[in-house]
């Protein structure tokens, strides 16, 4: 989780990623962020997020994204 928060903070230093649950709904993340996140997650966690998992529900909070990474890692 720490690693993920670090990636997110690199994108937006001013956002409270630990608690924010509306990263998509409040338009905090944009398409550039999503593309960057996917690339960073791939390099840091060695987890490739497949296209069908790139949906709002998985990116709305750091928690949701982290559980996606864990799920994909186990598969």
């Amino acid at each position: 989780m720490e690693d993920l928060l670090e990636i997110l903070e690199e994108l937006h230093a001013d956002v409270d990623f630990e608690n924010c649950e509306t990263l998509i709904d409040s338009a905090i993340l944009d398409s550039f962020d999503i593309v960057t996140l996917i690339a960073e997650v791939d390099s840091v966690f060695d987890v490739a997020i497949p296209a069908e998992e790139i949906i709002p529900e998985n990116f709305n909070s750091a928690k949701a994204l982290y559980s996606l990474i864990q799920r994909l890692d186990e598969e």
Partner: protein, 511 residues
Amino acid sequence: MKQKNILEYLEDTVQKLPDQVAYTDGTKALTFQEVFDQAQAIGTYLHLHNHQNEPVVVFMKRSPESIAAFFGCVYAGCFYIPLDEEMPKARMELIIQNVSPRGLICDVNTKKALENYSYQGEVYCYEEIIETKVDQTALSAIRERQIDTDPIYIVFTSGSTGIPKGVTACHRSVIDYIEALSEILQASSKTIFGNQVPLYFDACLKELLCTIKHGGTTYLIPKSLFMFPIKLVEYLNQYQINTLCWVSSALTMISGLGVLKKMVPKYLHTVAFGSEVFPVKQFNLWREALLHARFINLYGPTECTGMSCYYVVDEVLDLEDTIPIGRPFPNRDVFLLGEDNQKVTNNEVGEICIRGTSLTLGYYKNFEKTTESFVQTPLNTCYPELIYKTGDLGRYNDRKDLVFVSRKDNQIKHMGHRIELGEIELHTNKVDGVSTSCCLYDQQKGKIVLCYMGQADKKQILFSLKEKLPRYMLPNKIISLERMPFMANGKIDRVHLKEEHIDNLENGGKN
């Protein structure tokens, strides 16, 4: 008589296809008849309030209605300035100061936001002014007075001095552009566009004006879909969208995340891209997925009305190839000027220069910047003849097609947006606790990297920049430096910085 006003497109099409949807975002739609009626009502209203031959701001949500408002301004004999609800306040203020408009059209969504602005002129609410009874006599009188070199719009591009430059374009150059573009895109009444670019750039003329010329339909694709590629492709299929004119990075978003292997936008037959280099690897994924579609690379600066060069990609490309920008649009001359001020005809690098009707009128209320780039061509010493010097360097390949090489200065293309790195530096330097800064672009990763020296922390800088700059201009990485490298002449050594913080990182990360 030859066409002299862009509204003639709308007036012809509304006769033929009044009930066809012209613009829609998938939920709200306006037919050609509705666009026509609302634009005429707005034109009448502005006329009744004594607006003529002057800029009118359209500050509305990206919607079919905002497009009708653009045409409404033109009906009044005015020219529109499209502003976006997402534009940062400080930037909008700069634009308003530059233009000092007397009138502004807002909608119910943006009206509230206006209270925070220093704008002092009249505010008109779209929902109210479209109720105005159309005065045909007045509108005809305005039309009779209008000539084709009267302006239609001002759109703003990044300026290295920190002040955006307002590119002002007239009917003549826009008509010239749309006629040529229609042939290149093979647009017709069957063309269903999926618009991606914001309406405050001239890039959207492709969809907006080809639609009123031919009687097709434009879908304004919600911006949020560009984060979720599968949903985006589903949207394209749901509405049977067949033509795209997107920035390359939007296409890359779909192909790069592996979507085309799972789902194909099956109705697409024409895919135009541009504004930045399209990586061949990504392009090939698109080509393999859509074997029968036409792919067209477009190139052109806002200063020459939309696009000026095109290249229909009809061959298989190797990974090390660059997609050429190709040949000039009909009725415009695009050539390379060497350092000796002579035309380059061999394979050497020169500055891309453009000549012809497509040249816009210049930068609004900025004669100094206008005369720097719109200059007398050194190739003609007999009579006045302007060219636009793009600042882009290019060369011809073996097939005599033009290829983009690089910029002469610190302008970059990032996510399809044209950005002066100097504008970011200027605002960074104004932050308390920053002594100096230098902005770089990591081409390979598509990241804006800001290096700075001083006590300020990164968060503070980002906060401050967010108030001043549009989202797409914000640095993706901020590096605090103990010492900034300088050259003998006192200028920051960009090359050194770039080697240290961009090139090294890449090698370091991978080896």
